[in-house]
């Protein structure tokens, strides 16, 4: 099974079915973000309890533990036999009561796994009794890879449940308030997007990771609009739009100058105020020029472990005059990515797209030995000679033209002082 089976040229990638899916997958370095625990814990004053067989708990908890998300997270081990017989409901109820007695948090996420999902276990009664006994909100979620591609991903579903804390809020619409949704590491308050929005008079900018408590989070109900920076927040934003009348715009993280300009144009339209970004764009391009010059002889690969779309980054780099040769992706494409792929088919049809999760790709590094720079820890696994630039969502977050510069500066740092891909994954915990 050669590496060619795992890839296809961009020229031939015209529809989802063309993607080189494998008969068996789940071996590659990227399963596209299943951090349900971390997603739930973005909500302030929340606790997460996962209940299920030990194997499922370990799978879901490992990375949360590796990154230190342990204080607000508990696990309740339930054997399969108990689940099949429905004997576990009382045990889970008892376990949660004990935890609630020890913890002050106001919201408790009860996360179950594939077995409860497939058994259709009804936790309604358990949740009602627990809420009555503890006075806390109990929200049910599922960590169920068995639903991949069929429903919202588990972490999207978890993020969407935050709506429960907004839907009953009295709205006092605030024309100067904007919600920024979909950040894990928050954007800095002195960053470009904040500066641009504040200059336009948008004074109250809220991100969920920066809400100190549920009261502050509930004020997101007052926003004039929501800006969505990551796809996982689209469902929450859509609920807020439909049920609360808060318009939303999907303006995902971008690295290419043209895409960034498009994002700001969309934001300007959504907030209904002119945004002063021309100077930022000018300065960024000026600062980028020498950084780009030094990269013109480099060959590049882009992986889907980056924060953002690998197709957008590939398009941005190509527009900057750099040579992208490979994209490591998965078989799920957002609608906006097809436009980027169409554009890349014209500007860089030679790019080869690989299925990052294909068994034929495992252990294959020789075909990528010529790659000089690999964005994403997944691309870095295959491009063993490349300087690996993670652009991980666990690093500092930037938005706008500063993001393009940050990407280029990170590239140069990786070339000057390389950190091995192994260390990015196993020491810095940047996988997923």
């Amino acid at each position: 099974m050669g590496v060619d089976q795992a890839g296809i040229s961009l020229e031939k990638l015209t529809r989802r079915e063309d993607f080189p899916f494998a008969p068996l997958e789940g071996v590659g370095p990227n399963l596209a973000g299943w951090g349900v625990i971390e997603t739930c814990l973005i909500l302030p004053e929340s606790l997460c309890v996962m209940a299920g067989p030990s194997a499922c708990l370990r799978h879901s908890a490992f990375m949360a533990h590796a990154r230190g998300f342990t204080d607000r997270f508990y696990m309740l081990c339930v054997p399969e036999l108990d689940m099949t017989l429905g004997r576990h409901l009382e045990k889970v109820e008892q376990g949660i009561l004990e935890i609630a007695r020890e913890r002050p948090e106001k919201v408790l996420f009860l996360i179950v796994g594939c077995p409860d999902y497939i058994l259709g276990t009804d936790f309604t009664g358990v949740i009602a009794r627990l809420e009555a006994a503890t006075g806390r909100r109990i929200i049910l979620g599922a960590m169920a890879p068995i639903t991949i591609g069929l429903k919202d991903s588990p972490f999207t579903a978890a993020y969407t449940t935050f709506f429960d804390f907004l839907k009953h809020e009295e709205r006092t619409p605030d024309p100067d308030a904007v919600n920024i949704l979909g950040t894990f590491m928050p954007l800095a308050a002195d960053g470009e997007l904040y500066t641009v929005l504040r200059r336009a008079g948008m004074e109250r900018l809220r991100q969920i990771p920066l809400c100190a408590d549920l009261d502050e989070f509930s004020r997101m109900a007052d926003a004039a609009c929501s800006l969505v920076l990551h796809p996982l927040a689209n469902s929450l934003a859509a609920r807020m739009d439909k049920d609360m009348g808060i318009p939303t715009r999907f303006v995902p993280t971008a690295y290419g100058f043209a895409a960034i300009a498009e994002r700001y144009a969309a934001i300007e339209e959504t907030v209904g105020r002119p945004l002063d970004t021309a100077g930022l764009e000018r300065e960024a391009k000026k600062a980028a020029a020498p950084l780009l010059d030094a990269l013109r002889d480099k060959t590049i690969a882009v992986g889907c472990a980056i924060n953002g779309s690998p197709y957008e980054l590939a398009a941005g780099l190509t527009d900057m005059g750099l040579r992208v040769e490979a994209i490591f992706g998965r078989g799920a494409f957002a609608a906006y990515e097809w436009k980027l792929i169409e554009k890349l088919r014209e500007t860089a049809p030679h790019i080869r797209v690989y299925n990052v999760s294909h068994p034929a790709l495992c252990g294959q590094t020789a075909p990528f030995d010529h790659i000089d720079v690999a964005y994403g820890v997944d691309a870095g696994m295959f491009c063993a000679n490349a300087a690996n630039v993670p652009l991980s969502r666990y690093q500092e977050q930037k938005y706008g033209y500063e993001n393009a510069l940050w990407m280029l500066e990170q590239t140069h740092e990786a070339l000057r002082n390389p950190v091995s891909n192994h260390d990015w994954i196993y020491k810095h915990q940047f996988l997923i």
């Binding site: 376990g95 497939i118 997923i432």
Partner: protein, 429 residues
């Protein structure tokens, strides 16, 4: 009392969680991870033999094993894969599709065998993995076997079943016997760590005149066929069980081939001489008490039981620690029921030794004021509330890749050097 039993469950439990008669509390983890379980053990046992291990469930199971519990995955060939069951596959069956998928991957990757490991989902929906095996064998012309795991049994059980399946499929009647030849059983990475940690044990066996015929679970160096040593394992005259996952295989090989076995992981200087003596049918030599004050008075060893008892022996005989208790975090009862093939064992139960993986119970024991030294996987340090001396000894089934590269040793003299270095370097409480 009658009134109490009619009160709502939640009200009674809100008052006292243990109030419900007969209600076993659910096991809870907070600072620790649950240990690796059955199909993790299967993967660990079979990883190095050039097969295809299919974790028969949603894709997440295999994926997590690869990126977290199986550090050998990094830049290696696809070995542990997930069937990738989705919701409709579970509801509709779709067995034929998965059999086809597995067959295609196994043949195009040219794997020597296929092993199907059960998961919570395959257990709940009652997938006939045995039937899959028969069909897959005819489609792939390769050995195919299943290992009946779910998602809650301890990992040594999964590894043990995998070893028995390997033996059934590949072991050959011995063409000859190798004088003093020994198989080392149970050396899976989840228990014993990197292969290099077991090397001192293997070297000491060879030096003592016991050539190593096979190691479960890695191929012998220099053999083109990674399964050659497995096939030839019955040529050994004795088996050495170094972790509980090897015990059932030892018993099976005694029943099938009359090969006796000893049990023990030799830790420290005293350990070096113990195993050869046991293999010769002699009891371990009484050791001389070391001079000088012991580095601690009461040590608590937490981890895999055979290694745990080896550590206990080393602490007492090499370092003179007067009291050592073992917390076996995986089932250990079988170690104390010596079968007819057992020539001897280094496993000796003490009055305070326990078998538990309960975070609550382990935390209580670790923080017993009488305990002044804990030897355990670094993850357990999070449970300490006082200034007890803590000596890290990774248990990969707990911390997996987090401590995979940490420098440590336990086997024979290297184990002594590591512990001595830790005692001299780490602060007394």
């Amino acid at each position: 009392m009658l009134q109490e039993t009619h009160a709502p469950l939640t009200a009674r439990i809100a008052e006292d969680p243990t109030a419900m008669p007969g209600m076993q509390g659910v096991k809870r983890y907070h600072k620790l991870l649950p240990l690796a379980t059955g199909y993790f053990g299967v993967s660990s046992a079979l990883y190095a033999f050039d097969g295809l291990v299919v974790v028969y469930g949603p894709a997440g199971g295999a994926w997590h094993i690869n990126i977290e519990d199986e550090p050998r995955w990094y830049r290696g060939p696809a070995t542990v894969v997930g069937a990738g069951l989705l919701e409709m596959d579970v509801i509709l069956g779709n067995d034929a599709k998965f059999i086809d998928n597995i067959a295609r991957v196994a043949t195009t990757l040219e794997r020597r065998f296929v092993a199907l490991a059960g998961t919570p989902i395959s257990e709940i929906i009652g997938t006939d993995l045995k039937g899959f095996c028969r069909t897959l064998e005819s489609k792939t012309s390769r050995p195919v076997f299943m290992v009946p795991t779910a998602g809650s049994e301890p990992y040594p059980e999964g590894a043990s079943k995998a070893f028995l399946a390997l033996a059934r499929k590949f072991m050959l009647p011995p063409a000859k016997k190798r004088k003093n030849g020994v198989n080392v059983l149970g050396a899976i990475h989840l228990s014993t760590g990197k292969e290099e940690h077991v090397e001192p044990l293997l070297a000491s066996l060879e030096e003592a005149g016991f050539p190593v015929v096979s190691v479960f679970s890695v191929p012998r160096p220099g053999q083109a066929d990674p399964l050659q040593a497995i096939r030839e394992a019955p040529e050994a005259e004795m088996n050495l069980v170094v972790c509980t996952s090897g015990l059932a295989l030892a018993e099976q090989m005694h029943a099938a081939h009359g090969i006796p076995y000893v049990v023990g992981m030799p830790v420290g200087r005293s350990g070096r001489g113990d195993i050869p003596r046991l293999l010769r049918g002699q009891p371990p030599a009484p050791a001389q008490a070391p001079t000088g004050p012991p580095p601690c008075n009461r040590a608590l060893v937490i981890g895999e039981p055979v290694l745990g008892y080896g550590l206990k022996r080393c602490l007492r005989l090499d370092f003179g620690v007067p009291e050592v208790d073992v917390v076996a975090v995986t089932p250990s009862e079988a170690l104390f029921r010596t079968g007819p093939g057992c020539l001897g064992t280094l496993v000796e139960r003490g009055p305070r030794d326990v078998c538990t993986d309960s975070e609550r119970d382990i935390a209580a024991m670790m923080n017993d004021p009488a305990v002044d030294c804990v030897i355990a996987d670094p993850c357990y340090a999070a449970l300490l509330t006082g200034k007890t001396r803590f000596i890290p000894l990774p248990h990969i089934a707990m911390s997996a890749r987090l401590n995979w590269d940490m420098p440590y040793e336990y086997a024979v003299d290297k184990g002594y050097e590591y512990l001595a270095g830790q005692f001299s370097g780490s602060p007394r409480p």
